[in-house]
């Protein structure tokens, strides 16, 4: 059974001007033991999706419809305090997009760790500290960092510390939202290394890596899912997706990436014309149709459905019509 199964999820922001359909009728399954890359342009709904997947939904965001099952438990109808006590931090953890600011300036790392663990388990402080120290060593983090305040740590260190804190209770699912976007290359490498170690040592089962930078997914993801305007457009194993993408959007996205390979020079870079749609009032039919190089008439009026093609790959495009 998949670690997380989401069906028919609709998560909208209720704002003055109407409803922003950030996640619209989405199905997603995250298997156990994989690192899933979730990619797409800024504003396509990735962050909203992952927050919704762990039911971290606060007004003006509302879960309008859908069920989410995590490790066999239906979390989409749990109340906030159950989620706080049993799910968040324990089964699933989210490392937010602004991890560099995620730590409170007036408390040191130790203090925060104590608070987090104490809430979920009743364990004496000394044990908490020794547990944390051991974990830090395992993950190649300096133990001295524990007694420091956030402003004393470098950016890369902070990011890794936050990831370490998020996984202290061994959550089966770890979601990291743009962990490398604000870092320079050598720190990026350390973060990726840490994520790989987390899977290798079995601390977490699956990782969802949200980013707009496809290049980094090549190094860490087993499976990549592409999102556009609140919908999933394609999902496939990494190599398959990067070398043989089916959806026009995926194709354009990959071709817009600069990689240190000689073909890029020959091929040249192509950017995708136009802008992502306004989710208050998305376009009819396929949401990508205004910018699609392979647009057909049917695309303008009918929304494509997710279709399974070779070996568990999924595509949502009229180029691959469903057999019905």
């Amino acid at each position: 059974m998949a670690l997380l199964e989401a069906k028919g999820v609709k998560a909208y922001y209720y704002v003055r001007q109407g409803q922003v359909k950030a996640v619209d009728d989405l199905d997603l399954a995250i298997e156990r033991g994989i690192t899933l890359g979730l990619a797409g342009e800024s504003g396509c709904g990735k962050s909203t999706l992952v927050n919704t997947l762990m039911m971290n939904v606060k007004p003006p965001l509302h879960l309008v419809e859908g069920t989410i099952v995590l490790d066999g438990k239906v979390i989409s109808n749990m109340d906030r305090s159950t989620l706080q006590k049993n799910i968040w931090g324990v089964l699933v953890s989210l490392v937010p997009q602004s991890a560099l600011n995620a730590l409170m300036p007036t408390m040191n790392i130790e203090g925060f760790v104590k608070d987090v663990i104490r809430h979920h388990m009743s364990v004496p402080d000394s044990q908490i500290i020794s547990m944390t120290k051991k974990r830090f060593e395992e993950l190649n983090l300096p133990v001295e960092a524990l007694s420091m305040y956030p402003h004393e740590l470098s950016g890369g260190m902070k990011q890794r510390a936050v990831i370490a804190i998020s996984t202290l209770l061994n959550p089966k699912l770890l979601i990291v939202d743009e962990p490398t976007s604000a870092l320079d290359v050598c720190c990026q490498k350390q973060v990726l290394r840490m994520l790989i170690d987390l899977r290798k040592t079995g601390i977490t089962q699956s990782i969802v890596f949200v980013t707009h930078d496809i290049a980094v997914l090549k190094q860490i993801a087993d499976w990549i899912t592409i999102m556009y305007a609140g919908k999933i457009v394609e999902s496939a194993p990494t190599d398959d997706l990067l070398n043989d993408s089916k959806h026009p959007y995926t194709f354009s996205l990959i071709n817009a990436v600069v990689t240190p390979e000689p073909e890029v020079r020959k091929r040249g870079l192509t950017s995708i014309p136009g802008e992502p749609p306004n989710l208050l009032d998305p376009p009819k039919g396929c949401r990508f149709h205004p910018r699609c190089p392979k647009v057909m008439d049917v695309c303008r009026s009918v929304e494509p459905t997710l279709v399974k093609i070779e070996g568990n790959r999924i595509v949502s495009c009229h180029l691959f019509p469903s057999e019905s």
Binding site: Q84, K85, P96, N101, L103, T106, M107, D115, Y149
Partner: protein, 350 residues
């Protein structure tokens, strides 16, 4: 340089590298400059304001009987060093200051200004210190509460109440409290710091009497000052509630009251700075409040001195008040430097 000289220099430099020491020394320097500028203002005002008040005073008293005239003239000339060149006047002014000599009062001849001010100061401090601290604490708590309960009835009722309260002058609150509780209901006394028939001592009856007289003035300042803190804290907390560390802690499952505690801790920091900045305002309001109660603090002292044109008293009282205020500022700055880990961790070093 000798070996000892070099190591001393190194020690001083390393001390200066410490953020805590740097912060403190910068503040001390600033406060000293403020005090000096203030002294300059005090010195310059009576001598340079159009209409030269001292000359006016001399002119006004020319009609007086000869003995009083001579005495007054002598006082003025001696006190202000009139007739001597400005630099000498200023030098004498500063020299006297350092000796602790602030002159003698005009209205109470023979009595030193320092004596009268130091007698009055404890009464003012007795009102100010508890009132400032308590209003700060209570105001911040109420403000945090209002912020937490935003968009509910509690906040919608509290906010206008705070806004109105903060614009209510302490002395008017004093008048109202005095009218209701002392004049009409006769629960509290109507004036003074203690019953004049009681001789000041540490006996319980005297202390209780003092507290009984102290209550209404204290409450006036307390209630008047709460509003400002509440409003500030409310904005701070609302702002902090949208901070990244709040959503992160929340997503790790930490309960709401824990997250609120974090927000409170972070919001308190700027409020400590705010306390330092507002000490002057609270002081001013408290001084005027004393007048309403005939409370024998520095405010009442200054008021009387202003009415009677007792210039040495006016000058002396102001200098000592400012000094007290700057010292209080410094203490609050020290507390802030200790509480803010970004400054305190200078000790641990990197």
């Amino acid at each position: 340089m000798s070996h000892r000289g070099k190591s001393l220099k190194k020690k001083l430099l390393s001390l200066y590298g410490n953020p805590f020491i740097r912060f403190v020394s910068r503040r001390v320097g600033f406060l000293i400059i403020t005090f000096v500028i203030f002294l300059l203002i005090i010195f310059a005002l009576p001598r340079f304001i159009p209409g030269n008040p001292l000359a006016t005073l001399l002119y006004a008293i020319r009609e007086m009987p000869p003995e009083t005239l001579q005495l007054k003239q002598k006082q003025l000339i001696e006190q202000f060093g009139l007739g001597k060149p400005l630099e000498v006047q200023f030098y004498e002014f500063i020299a006297r200051l350092f000796r602790g000599d602030l002159g003698t009062s005009y209205s109470y001849p023979g009595i030193k200004v320092v004596t009268m001010v130091f007698t009055a100061l404890p009464w003012s401090l007795g009102l100010l210190i508890p009132a400032s601290l308590l209003s700060w604490i209570i105001g911040n708590l109420l403000g945090a509460l209002a912020a937490y309960k935003r968009k509910t009835l509690i906040d919608n009722a509290l906010l206008p109440a705070f806004l109105t309260l903060t614009e209510t002058p302490y002395y008017w609150l004093a008048m109202v409290l005095l009218y209701i509780f002392a004049v009409t209901l006769k629960i509290f006394p109507t004036s003074d710091a203690h019953n004049f028939l009681y001789f000041p001592s540490l006996r319980l009856t005297f202390i209780l009497d003092v507290l009984w007289h102290w209550t209404l003035p204290f409450l006036s300042i307390l209630m008047g000052a709460i509003g400002g803190w509440a409003i500030g804290m409310r904005s701070m907390v609302i702002y902090e509630l949208g901070a990244d560390y709040v959503s992160y802690a929340d997503s790790l499952g930490l309960p709401d009251r824990k997250v609120l505690l974090y927000v409170f801790k972070n919001s308190m920091l700027p409020q400590i700075t705010g306390l330092a900045l507002n000490l002057g305002t609270i002081l001013g309001g408290a001084l005027i409040t004393e007048i309403v109660f005939n409370y024998p603090g520095t405010g009442f002292l200054i008021f009387r001195a202003l009415t009677q044109l007792d210039y040495p008293m006016i000058q002396g009282a102001f200098i000592l008040l400012i000094l007290t205020l700057l010292i209080a500022n410094f203490i609050v700055d020290l507390v802030y430097a200790y509480v803010d880990p970004r400054i305190r961790t200078g000790y641990i070093g990197e």
